[in-house]
Each structure stands twice: as C-alpha cells, then as structure tokens.
C-alpha cells in the first residue's frame, strides 16, 4: 500500500506545532498501524538525501497488544482510528485503502497537553486515581479470599468497569473533553464490590473534585466515549457514578 500521511509535528510543550505531509510506500496490509509509523520513522532516519538525520515522529506506545493504554492517536477523525473496540496498536492497515491520506493527530484536551509531536501528558488520570481510586487496605490486612462471596453478576459487572486501560480515548473523543467515563469506571468497579463500599462516598467526592479541578469538561451524555472506548465500557457506569455522588451529597 502507498499512503500519504498528514502528521502533527510539535517540538515540545511550548512550541507551536503544525502538520507535515509524508509519503510512504509498500506498507503491508497485515502491518499494524504503529508498525506503519515505525516504517515512516525508519524512512526519516535513513533518508540518505538528508545529511543530518530528520527527527522521527514521537508517539506513545508500549505493549502493542491493546492493554497497557499507552498508545493514543486520533486517526482520520477518530480516537484509535477506524475500527471498533481496539487501541491504535491493534489497528491494522487492512482497514485503509491504497492511496489513502491519513490524518494523524494527538489527543486534544486541556487535561492532556501535547509534549511532543503525537505524545501527550496524561498524568491528570493518575492524579484523579490518587485522590481516591483505591480500597484502603494495607498489605497483610486481608481475610480469606472466599470470606466475602460476591455474586457472579456483580463480579462480572465490576470486571467490565475494571477493564479500563486509562488510554484517554474517552476524553479525546468527547466534544467536551469530559473524563466521566474514566472516573466512572473506577468508582463503579469499587462501588459494586463489598470491599469498596466502606469508602465509596469519600471516593466519589474526592475523585469528582479532582476531575473538576484538572480542567476536564462536563459530561453531556452524548455517548461518544462509550463507542470509542477500546474496552467498550458502558455509560451505565457513569449512571452509577452519578448515583453514588448524589447519594453521597443528598443522603449523607
């Protein structure tokens, strides 16, 4: 496949960025999207016409199997590109056509500033979780694992919520850059489990306050996050978060 790439290039967090166009040839349709960018970078590094090596395109990636949540591109207008329930590293070139022009942009949100090219800073997510996204239990405190039975349905639903990989596609795709799906996935997971109930009020308060503080937008229930979430996390969890939060405030 031969492709034209329109890629966002930005030197650092303070610099002004712009799009650059690149031509790339002979990409196998079985390659993953990131392997295609690898090939672009290889071409940029080894471009013999240029005496000084051109800088390759910087992008975040690590596990390349859709679970670490590090990869993050906005491809042709969609978070993680044109396929359902995948991350960018799982996107394959067979989803494109020979001769296509592909627009590649970083996540765009106040909470996720660009630090170079296609890389963004997602520490805001860590900060939200640090504010309360855990069960306070020191190592060694635990009773026997089977001491608290948890119904299969509850456990499965908690697992659905817990499958969040923290990639930020929800924020990136939301027209308001809202982080509600991310926050909800954690609050909902822990609210569903008896172990997490004891501090669920405190947790919902703290995490929402932190989310608001970090400049994310308000959820207007458009539902785009759910569609673009690589793990298909449901809006039901946002409803549960709202429930937890309202209960925490109105029936303290």
């Amino acid at each position: 496949m031969d492709l034209t790439l329109k890629v966002w290039r930005q030197e650092n967090a303070k610099a002004k960025g712009k799009f650059e166009k690149y031509q790339i040839k002979n990409i196998s349709p079985d390659s993953s999207f990131l392997e295609m960018i690898d090939a672009l970078n290889e071409q940029l590094i080894q471009d013999d016409k240029d005496p000084v090596a051109k800088e390759p395109v910087a992008f975040d990636h690590d596990c390349r199997e859709g679970i670490c949540g590090m990869c993050s591109l906005y491809i042709n207008g969609r978070a993680h590109g044109p396929d359902e329930e995948i991350t960018t590293c799982q996107l394959h070139m067979r989803k494109f056509k020979d001769g296509d022009t592909i627009v590649i942009e970083p996540w765009r949100a106040n909470g996720f500033p660009v630090i170079k090219d296609l890389m963004v800073d997602r520490q805001a997510f860590d900060k939200i979780l640090q504010s309360g996204g855990f069960i306070s239990a020191n190592t060694g405190n635990a009773p026997d694992a089977n001491a608290i039975p948890i119904g299969k349905d509850k456990a499965e639903e908690a697992m659905d919520a817990a499958s969040c990989i923290g990639c930020g596609a929800c924020v990136a795709t939301c027209k308001n850059s809202s982080a509600m799906l991310f926050v909800a996935s954690k609050v909902s997971q822990l609210a569903l489990l008896p172990q997490g109930k004891h501090e669920s009020v405190k947790r919902a308060h703290a995490m929402i306050a932190k989310m608001d503080e970090l400049g994310f937008g308000h959820c207007t229930n458009t539902g785009a996050c759910e569609v673009e979430c690589p793990k298909g996390i449901s809006l039901d969890h946002i409803a549960r978060l709202n429930r937890e939060f309202l209960a925490a405030n109105l029936m303290p």
Binding site: V114, K175, D212, G223, R240, L241, N242, E244, A247
Partner: protein
C-alpha cells in the same frame, strides 16, 4: 450543599431537574393547546386558558416555572462556557456521526433556537393575555372568559411566517427533548442497559408527541382556514 452545587455533577443535577420540570410543563401546555383542535368554536380552549390564568395553584406555579426556565438557561450557559474551554486546540479532522447523535452534540444551539422561539411566543400571546391585553381578546367575552382562541387562531391565519416559526421552534424542541429525556435520568443516576432502552424509546415518543403536537396546531388552524 454549595460545594455540591458547584461540582460538575451538581450543576448537571440542576439542569436535569429543571429540564424534567419544564418537560411536565410542556405536557400540560400541549394538552391545553390541543383543545384548539377538538373544539373549533374555541369555547373549550378559552375555558382552559381562563382556568390557567385565574387558578391560585397555577399562580403559585408560575413563578416556579419562571425559576425553572432561568435555572435551566443559566446552568446551560455556565456548563457550555466551561465546555468551550476544555479543548484549546481543536482537531483538524473529527468524525462524531457514528458515535453520538447530532442533537446530543447540539443541545445548546437547539436550546437557543427554542429560547428565541419562546421569546416570540411569549410576546405573541402570553404577554398580551397577561399584561397588555388585545382587542381580539375582548371579542365575544362570556362570563369573563376572554377569547384567547380568537387571538391565537387569528395570528396563525393572518401570518404564514408565524406558522413557519412555530413549526421550526417545535422541531428544535423535539430534537432537544429527544436527547434530554434519557440524558436527564442518566444524570440523576437512573439508567442501566434496560432502562436506557426504555428511556430512549420514551424520549422518542415524547419528542414526537410534543414536537408534532405543537407543530400541528398552527398548521391545522392555518390549513383548515383555507379549506
């Protein structure tokens, strides 16, 4: 409580509550208006309008309704203004059509259209009935019941553009409601897979009934006058 109302969910909570309250008002309003369709003499409608204008309970609800509108509009502005700041650099290319409905993404615009319509509507009828009065209202007054029917129908019959404005306003309202019914319940925490389907269906029915109903009245009046 102040902290709660200042939080993002707190603000949306007020949006939802005020929105649902306004929805009940719309339903009552539509039922009363539909009397225009059922009785071409106008007596039924005039009775109802008179009742609404004089009943003490309604008098109490009226300012509450006004507060509902103000809250809904005020928080819509606050929330939207904030949401406009959350993506300082926009995307070059963004596709959202497959992942969210057009109306869900344009609630504020739809709200503005509805608001504009509302101002026209209030100026046309409510203001006259309530404050300034109009000679059409005085026409054929029976037992102190003013002829609101005549005021309304004359308006629609005389002015095509008023009819069109009302139809546009109704459609905008319908689209606004189509997203808002489920959305309000979602924000209040009342939704899951099952209820989401139910509420979306209810939203569809509600928005068609309300938008269709409000659009039908001026059209009906105008068209039947031409027959």
């Amino acid at each position: 409580m102040l902290k709660f109302l200042n939080s993002s969910i707190g603000k949306k909570f007020l949006m939802s509550l005020s929105g649902l309250f306004l929805l009940t008002f719309l339903l009552v309003h539509l039922i009363l208006n539909s009397f225009i369709l059922f009785d071409s003499s106008g007596a039924l409608f005039n009775q109802a309008a008179h009742f609404m204008a004089t009943n003490p309970i309604i008098k109490v609800v009226e300012p509450v309704l006004a507060i509902g509108f103000i809250l809904h509009i005020f928080y819509a502005i606050i929330l939207t203004l904030h949401n406009l700041t959350t993506r300082p650099v926009g995307y070059d290319k963004q596709k959202l059509g497959h992942s969210s409905s057009w109306s869900s993404r344009n609630m504020f615009i739809l709200g503005l259209v509805v608001l504009t319509f509302l101002v026209i509507h209030v100026a046309n009828f409510f203001w006259k009935i309530k404050f300034t009065g109009d000679e059409l209202l005085e026409h054929g007054v029976v037992d102190g019941v003013e002829n609101a029917y005549l005021l309304v129908t004359t308006f629609f019959i005389d002015w095509w553009w008023i009819v069109i404005t009302y139809v546009i306003g109704s459609i905008a309202l319908g689209l606004h409601l189509f997203h808002s019914v489920w959305s309000a319940f979602q924000t209040l925490g009342f939704s899951n897979q099952l209820w989401r389907r139910r509420l979306t269906l209810i939203a569809l029915v509600v928005s068609i009934v309300i938008a269709g109903g409000f659009a039908l009245i001026p059209l009906w009046v105008k068209i039947s006058s031409m027959l």
